[in-house]
């Protein structure tokens, strides 16, 4: 027996679902969000314990296949050199993200026009700018105005401290006359909206027990719930239902006990990330939609984009920050825009890394023999612990249709829903960019005084950014949703997560995901009278 119908059903309570709910709440419509995971308790985060590194690698691992919580679903990623990093719970990936919070650049929306690759977005930076501003106000962003790599943007709180690591890296960039700037971060450096300031706990990537890092469970969701949005946890959606007219009519979901439910809705909004959204759409087959819902273009699940990352680290004779500070530090966009002489198109952002934690340092060096066991262990360990820092390069990933999310024919989750299967290869453009980034990073670290510099690619577990698999566009043959996030095929079905992305830019996507979700919500509110036309 289906439940009473709601006006708006949101599937997923991560970055995009939270921002969308927050905006849509002022319509006073009956809005329900179904989230397969739980609310998180800050007291459960690893940093409350001495064995925080082991907990971060286990129950708070970024890999759902390693984490294996009851709220996770398995992913077949044997066909990808980059493995998915996600989190299933209220806040989604923002629970475990570092809080790097760059915006897109104006050029990121015009990649086809400027560089002849990918496609142009159907919107531009100026369209999204007010939604970036609104997202920033709710999130709380620290940084420094005046970055020459960006158009002017407001900065709400002072930047995170440079620390010893940031000072080393900045010295290296300056020696090369290359750009650097303190990172924009979704980390409060002052008390903000009832949240405390960062106290440099250093375990940002396994949840912020201080509440300074802006995960959407503590930013957008409290406001949305106060405004009347209902958020139901432990509700795993299997498929979106449709009526005889080809309109979305709601969803089938399982509760925590595995019981099946149906919820009716006038509008359905997908906010499950670039893996979860195509998974559900492809699993929503019907007579009217035999290839999955909203898939007349054949593009649902295609054009999967990660950001291939390189990683480079160097060692110093004096101490640096190590894990005694927030993950975010400084960034450089010296190599962001295309320059033909480099041999690849588009570019990347360097993001500084303060250094590894003690157990990680021990394991890395003992397993490779660089720090011996036995008598020489302690002296050798003290030459590496809190002595290493470096950077990663987040490289723009071009959309390619052969990079896909499909439904695995065999692997299923605990409710019997087919698992997603990834097939992804790094392009030649990505490889050239990654190799270039390593050589430039080595130059920075050498100039900073580092020795024993090491670099490599990709970060295997670095599939943090899941994009492109329900792309927006004006042509229904070349896109899944229109320029304001509505499905071309199903006029009451919307997508608000990273699946929307046409191109990936060379920056972390969360700030843009939240801005896009606010933009889609506002677009809907402006058209309520004829939303399905």
């Amino acid at each position: 027996m289906p439940e009473d119908a709601v006006d708006v059903l949101i599937v997923g309570a991560g970055a995009s679902g939270a921002a969308f709910a927050y905006s849509m709440a002022d319509t006073r419509m009956r809005i329900v969000c179904l989230e397969q995971g739980d609310w998180m308790k800050q007291s459960d985060y690893p940093s409350n314990h001495m064995d925080w590194e082991r907990r971060a690698a286990g129950p708070f691992s970024h890999s759902p296949n390693t984490r294996g919580r009851t709220t996770d679903y398995p992913i077949n990623e044997e066909g990808s050199p980059i493995k998915v990093a996600n989190f299933n719970g209220v806040g989604g990936g923002t629970i475990l993200y570092a809080g790097h919070f760059p915006r897109f650049h104006p050029s990121d929306f015009r990649v086809k026009t400027l560089d002849g690759v990918g496609d142009d977005w159907p919107i531009d930076y100026e369209t999204l700018a007010p939604y970036y501003d609104e997202s920033d106000r709710v999130t709380g962003v620290s940084g420094l105005p005046g970055d020459p790599a960006y158009p002017a943007k407001p900065s709400l709180m002072p930047p995170l401290p440079l620390g010893r690591s940031g000072t080393k890296l900045a010295t290296g960039f300056n020696a090369n006359n290359w750009h650097w700037w303190p990172s924009d971060s979704a980390i409060a450096t002052e008390p903000y909206d009832g949240r405390d300031a960062c106290i440099n706990v250093g375990s940002c990537l396994s949840g912020c027990a201080q509440g300074a890092k802006a995960s959407t469970d503590i930013t957008f969701w409290p406001h949305a719930i106060r405004a009347g949005v209902e958020l139901r946890t432990r509700c795993r959606v299997r498929e979106i239902t449709v009526n005889d007219e080809g309109m979305a009519s709601g969803a089938i979901y399982y509760d925590a006990e595995g019981a099946e439910h149906e919820i009716k809705a006038e509008v359905v909004v997908m906010a499950c990330n670039g893996i979860g959204t195509p998974r559900i759409l492809l699993n929503s087959k019907s007579t009217l939609f035999p290839d999955g819902l909203a898939n007349s273009s054949g593009l649902v699940g295609k054009n999967l984009m990660f950001h291939p990352y390189s990683h480079i680290i160097g060692y110093f004779d004096d101490e640096v920050d190590g894990a005694r500070g927030p993950n975010d530090c400084i960034w450089s966009q010296e190599f962001y825009e295309t320059e033909d002489s480099r041999g690849f198109v588009r570019g990347f952002t360097f993001e500084g890394y303060r250094g590894p934690a003690p157990v990680t340092t021990a394991l890395t060096h003992m397993m490779t023999g660089k720090v011996p066991w036995g008598k020489g262990h302690h002296a050798a360990y003290r030459t590496v612990v809190n002595r290493a820092c470096g950077m990663v390069a987040i490289c723009e990933d071009l959309p390619e249709e052969h990079n896909t999310v499909t439904l695995d024919p065999h692997l299923k989750d605990s409710n019997g829903i087919p698992a997603p299967k990834l097939d992804y290869t790094m392009s030649e453009n990505s490889v050239k960019m990654l190799e270039f980034s390593i050589e430039r990073a080595k130059e920075v670290l050498t100039a900073a005084g580092a020795h024993d510099i090491e670099g490599g690619y990709p970060i295997v577990g670095g599939g943090w950014h899941l994009m492109g698999t329900a792309r927006m566009g004006t042509d229904p043959a070349k896109s899944v949703v229109n320029e304001w996030g509505r499905s071309h095929d199903v006029k009451n079905l919307f997508v608000v997560d990273g699946s929307l992305f046409v191109t990936s830019a060379g920056v972390n996507p969360t700030r843009t995901i939240q801005a896009l979700a606010l933009y889609v919500a506002d677009s809907m509110k402006q058209r309520l009278a004829n939303l399905f036309d």
Binding site: N48, T113, Y150, L162, H179, T361, W373, G374, V385
Partner: protein, 157 residues
Amino acid sequence: MSDSISSSNPLTDGDQQTLRILAGLLIPADAEFGVPGADDGDIFDNLLALVLETEAGAQDVKKHLDELNARAHLRNGATLTALGEPDQIALLSDSASTEAVQTLIYYTANAYYQDGRVLESVNMKSEPPFPGGNDVDQGDWSLLDPVKERAPFWKRV
């Protein structure tokens, strides 16, 4: 000494003794740096707890301890615990690249570098990261001066 094995702990007293010796060889005490070894009471108790946290993990470690004892028998005609330290170290050296030793390094390093005394010896706090946090210098912001002088270089569209 008991060889009893409970259903929840597959490691015998003998296994635990072997494990303790190996932990102490992997990361020994060091007076110069003022640190205990991984065979120290509190650290080893933590190590054992980590090993026993899952049945699969405990069985895996037992398998590796058996392998190392089999090697000891082959080389020296005795169990590892019966060998003198030089022979124990030689056995460990010869086995360094094996999964057995790599697994023991994993547990030993995890237990050792969670210990407050050890962390203090490398200028870390002897408490969980939260709620104390850390002090991070602001650093030298004058390094930004040359960058501030650059003209905006984002690409206009």
